[in-house]
């Protein structure tokens, strides 16, 4: 199973980064969603894979999944939602303020005078 998780993480990361490199805002939102899946899965597998042993305590049970990464990832999932929502709203606001939907801004070219 490890190889499947690894491939899934690889694909999510690659697709996420690729979408973030595009010029429009919408694919960037999608890309960040995919990247957050990848990150959460990566963080999760730091506890290694355990099948059929959820970390719910019971008398005499000795095999269980590492609960700590799960707790970390649980909040990360919810925070990722908050981040996506913020990004969506930023994108909408930017689109209605500027009239265009672009992920890049023109480079700063104006020279600043140095006071002597």
């Amino acid at each position: 199973m490890e190889i499947l998780f690894a491939v899934l993480i690889a694909a999510l990361t690659a697709a996420g980064i690729y979408l973030c490199c595009l010029r429009q805002v919408f694919p960037v939102v999608l890309g960040l969603s995919l990247l957050s899946y990848a990150t959460n899965l990566f963080l999760f597998v730091a506890g290694r894979l355990t099948v059929g042993a959820p970390p719910v305590w019971a008398e005499g049970v000795t095999r269980f999944a590492d609960p700590l990464p799960q707790a970390l990832v649980l909040t990360a999932i919810v925070i990722a939602f908050g981040m996506t929502a913020l990004l969506v709203v930023l994108a909408i606001r930017a689109r209605f303020e500027s009239g265009v939907e672009r992920s890049d801004v023109p480079a700063v070219t104006d020279r600043v005078e140095v006071e002597r």
Binding site: F5, A10, T75, I77, A91, R93
Partner: protein, 944 residues
């Protein structure tokens, strides 16, 4: 404790003057005086313990592991400097009240002065090698604010920057030096350094320590070649120049030299460098001062020269020279502050400080002329004034010094004495005597008492200390004893020492000095022609300009504004770090047996990979891409489920549903397709595949490897300490509760930011664009089909029951506040989709803000309750409650916390979504005409 109070009073009292300034300028003055006067009384209350040699100490551990403690110590040296800082500060405060114009923010000015005063007191009372630089930098910062107080003037800004850069850089060198010193000495207490002198000097780091400390002291006390910042700092209002740049701050460097004197003061390197730099500065400053026509510039360079003199004395390496140095610090502070105030009066009354355009002022302002002349005569070292006393002491010490104590140094000092006499004579003779010359249209006269009172006090001190210098002897003896670490036979202070070499030098200096002023014109033309070409200022500003331009060039290159480049840059740097880590590791081979593959897993992984591929392929077909992203999320939640993480699976699947609704709402406001031509950046694609592969490989390596973990810790304590058997939930609400508290706070803030961003769209350009927005698809007339609406309403109670169930079982089985909140949000969203926003909101009653706030309060209160019981924040309690008819119900106080989580997360999610939906109504999204409540039609109700 009074030591702490002395430092804290001005620092905390800085808040008072701006408040009292509303009541007027005099209340602001009183508010500024109060902390200083109280601090001065407290300080003098310590006099007995200081003079008996048993200094008061305050020690409060701060970061013990670093050796940092809040340690203050009032010994003789600290007492001497602190008295100067407070006493002159009080005079300066009074003077400032008369000096600043009525429309200037005097409250702010006093606040800055008090901040400076507190910082300065901290410097001279700190007994910790790490605390001292903290205050040291604070003096640089407050000095920056004060020099730049007239920030509308370019000179003010420039001078402030220059001073901050030079003294700040010196402060960093000092910090490094003091840290090294503490490490070498094995103690961070200043007062313990003297006893470890041998240990410190034996260290190979000793030269580096000395260099760094000297850099700090020389920059602060404007020693050559760093002297150039001080004249530019004269752009400050004159009270600031008088206080910071002649009487106190520039003496911080001298204080520091005196402090480390017991350790380094008698080494060869010290004697060579400190004496040498001090003598050079003394001569250079005096030469330039003579040829300055601006009164403040003249005084500034004279200050540079006098600071050099004291530095030279500290460098001589004899205890009596240290005594002479302390003596001159006191004398110089009195006459120089008086002179600055005098210049301030002239400036205030005539609007000028140019010696070429003013003269004969004694005719119109006799009092000012009298005070200025006395102070200037003292600066020249004329008896019976106090400047004469310290100059004589200085000459005696130089003659007796073991290094260069012969004629070379003696010659230098004599030359400097001639030049000092000359510029001091020039100050008063050119300004106050001769024919009356004034700027047109101004008739100056003596100022009000607020302006002449403080310099009068100082001039009285000048005369008294000149006639009866032995008055200052106990204070100076205590200071010198604390500085050199022993009681030496201190020289006897008297006005008349009899005839001797020093007196001859003085007499010669007066004669030649007077002659130089007499022939000033001829002299100045000749000297100015070859005047020192080196100006540190020019070098400094060239360097500054070069740096700023370089930074702009770098920013233009790196900060290109193209998101893709940032992402790739970040990824490349991470990969480089990774490669570095890999290279340093010990190699790797699989340790864990692979988990068996199963067919279903293979199928779902295939589905996930296909969905990912299709998202990339169809990202410009937006609706499709949103649905496919949802599919990817489902596969991820299945992966969680398979790998024994039911809580994560539940969270992921409910977040997925909410996110999909969010992205669908977003599509209302964006075109359905990419508007820009779909570019296919091949480079980015290749890089993404490479990075993805590396990350995947890393994940695989990690999964096949064993490593230490905390699983057993949490597993074994979950029930006994957390009172719940769902370990993940117990970690969230108990073990890591503080973290979770932070996370829900972040979520709440994010929701509020979303609210603010969307509210802001109701005006300006955004509003126009919003009104002109046409929805990118046709709206169905039956947006809320009746069967859907009815089913949704029937489902609601069941959904709410599920929410309760998930929440309450969360401590012991998969579930809990996060998941329950998301389910609750879904229950709400279903109603919204089925019956429209207005219908739903009309029945919500409670604002989402209230949910967020209440949730955070509940979570916080649970934590505080633990504190109330004497336990740490968020410490959980648990037990069983017997409810009749139901039996024992396990309860943990952490459930209160989980309830807070539920409320906050629900509030944040709904606030974001509702605001976005609400935006649709602003954009003219017409409500459905189907009545949603057929039984009770309300025509006024708008549906959306």
């Amino acid at each position: 404790m009074s030591a702490s109070a002395i430092v804290a009073l001005p620092l905390l009292g800085a808040i008072l003057p701006p408040l009292f300034a509303r009541a007027g300028r005099t209340p602001a003055l009183l508010a500024a005086l109060a902390p200083s006067v109280v601090a001065l009384l407290l300080l003098w209350g310590q006099a007995a313990s200081v003079f008996s040699g048993v200094p008061e100490e305050v020690r409060v551990p701060w970061v013990p592991a670093l050796g940092l403690e809040w340690a203050l110590r009032i010994d003789g040296l600290g007492f001497f400097f602190a008295s100067l800082i407070l006493a002159i500060g009080i005079l300066i405060f009074i003077y400032s009240r008369g000096y600043l114009a009525g429309n200037e923010p005097i409250g702010t000015f006093y606040a800055y002065l008090l901040l400076f005063q507190g910082a300065m007191l901290g410097v001279v009372l700190a007994d910790n090698l790490l605390l001292l630089p903290v205050f040291w930098e604070l003096t640089s910062l407050s000095s920056f604010l004060l020099i730049g107080f007239w920030c509308h003037l370019p000179d003010g800004r420039r001078g402030a920057r220059l001073a901050l850069a030079i003294t700040g850089a010196g402060g960093l060198a000092l910090l490094a030096g003091l840290i090294l010193l503490g490490e070498v000495a094995g103690t961070y207490r200043l007062s313990e350094l003297a006893a470890r002198q041998e240990l410190i000097l034996a260290s190979p780091l000793a030269p580096a320590i000395l260099t760094l400390i000297l850099l700090g002291a020389f920059t602060k006390s404007a020693q050559f070649p760093f002297h150039f910042w001080l004249p530019h700092a004269m752009a400050a209002p004159t009270p600031v120049s008088a206080y910071l740049h002649s009487a106190t701050m520039v003496k911080a460097g001298l204080y520091l030299l005196a402090r480390v004197w017991p350790v380094f003061g008698q080494t060869d390197a010290w004697v060579v460098w400190v004496t040498g730099i001090g003598a050079a500065t003394m001569l250079l400053g005096a030469t330039i001062a003579l040829f300055k026509d601006d009164l403040k510039a003249l005084l500034a360079y004279s200050t540079v020269s006098h600071l050099g003199l004291v530095t030279m004395l500290l460098g001589l390496g004899t205890p009596t020279a240290v005594f002479a140095a302390m003596l001159h610090v006191l004398m110089h502070a009195t006459f120089k502050a008086a002179l600055f105030m005098n210049t301030g009066i002239v400036d205030h009354e005539t609007g000028l400080r140019d010696l070429r355009r003013l003269s004969g002022l004694a005719k119109v302002m006799p009092l000012t002329a009298g005070l200025g002349t006395l102070a200037a005569l003292s600066m020249a070292g004329v008896p019976p004034l106090n400047g004469f006393v310290s100059k004589e002491a200085m000459l005696v010490e130089v003659l007796a010094a073991r290094w260069g104590g012969g004629w070379p140094l003696w010659g230098l000092v004599g030359l400097a004495a001639i030049l000092s006499a000359a510029y001091a004579f020039r100050y008063f003779s050119a300004l106050f005597f001769g024919p009356l010359r004034l700027p047109e249209g101004r008739i100056p006269h003596d100022p009000p008492a607020l302006l002449w009172g403080p310099p009068l006090v100082l001039v009285v001190a000048v005369v008294v200390l000149g006639l009866w210098p032995s008055l200052a002897e106990p204070l100076l003896a205590a200071a010198s004893a604390a500085a050199v670490g022993a009681h030496a036979p201190w020289p006897e202070l008297a006005l008349w020492h009899g005839f001797g070499a020093p007196l001859v030098v003085s007499a010669v200096a007066f004669v030649i000095g007077a002659a130089m002023v007499w022939h000033y014109r001829a002299l100045s033309g000749r000297v100015l022609a070859w005047a020192l070409p080196f100006d540190g200022r020019r070098a400094f500003f060239s360097a500054q300009e070069w740096l700023v331009r370089g930074a702009h060039r770098l920013i233009a290159r790196v900060h290109s504004g193209v998101l893709g480049r940032y992402v790739l840059l970040l990824a490349v740097v991470s990969l480089a770090a990774l490669a570095l880590g890999w290279g340093m590791g010990e190699g790797w081979r699989p340790q864990r047996a692979p988990t068996p593959m199963n067919g279903l897993g293979l199928i779902f992984a295939g589905v996930g990979l296909a969905a990912i591929g299709l998202v990339v392929r169809w990202h410009h077909k937006r609706l499709r891409a949103v649905l496919l992203t949802g599919a990817v999320g489902l596969v991820v939640s299945l992966a969680f489920l398979h790998a024994s993480a039911p809580d994560l699976a539940l969270t992921q699947i409910s977040v997925e549903a909410v996110t999909t609704v969010l992205l669908l709402l977003m599509l209302f406001f964006l075109p359905q397709h990419d508007t820009e031509p779909v570019a296919k950046p091949r480079g980015a694609a290749a890089a993404s595949i490479l990075i993805g592969s590396v990350v995947g490989l890393l994940a695989w390596v990690m999964m096949r490897n064993d490593g230490p973990n905390l699983a057993d810790y949490f597993w074994s304590r979950s029930v006994s300490e957390g009172g719940g058997s769902n370990v993940v939930n117990v970690i969230l609400v108990d073990f890591r509760g503080y973290d979770t508290f932070g996370e829900i706070t972040v979520l709440g803030i994010a929701a509020l930011v979303i609210y603010a961003l969307l509210q802001g769209m109701q005006e300006g350009v955004a509003r126009e664009h919003l009104h002109a927005w046409r929805f990118p698809f046709a709206l169905s007339p039956t947006r809320h089909p009746l069967p859907f609406a009815v089913t949704a309403r029937v489902m609601l109670p069941f959904l709410l029951m599920a929410v309760f169930y998930i929440f309450f079982r969360g401590h012991n089985a998969p579930g809990g506040g996060f998941i329950a909140a998301l389910l609750l949000a879904l229950a709400f969203l279903i109603q919204y989709m089925a019956s429209g926003l207005s219908w739903t909101m009309h029945r919500m009653r409670l604002d989402a803000h209230v949910w967020i706030g209440t949730g955070l309060l509940v979570a916080g209160a649970t934590g505080m309750a633990a504190m109330g019981l004497g336990a740490p924040f968020l410490r959980s309690a648990h037990g069983e409650v017997h409810i009749p008819g139901i039996g024992p119900v396990p309860l943990a106080s952490a459930m209160g916390f989980d309830l807070g989580v539920l409320l906050t997360v629900f509030g944040a999610v709904t606030l974001a979504l509702v605001q976005l939906a609400h935006l649709g109504q602003l954009a003219g999204f017409l409500p459905s005409r189907t009545p949603m409540d057929p039984a009770r039609p309300k025509p006024s109700e708008k549906e959306g």
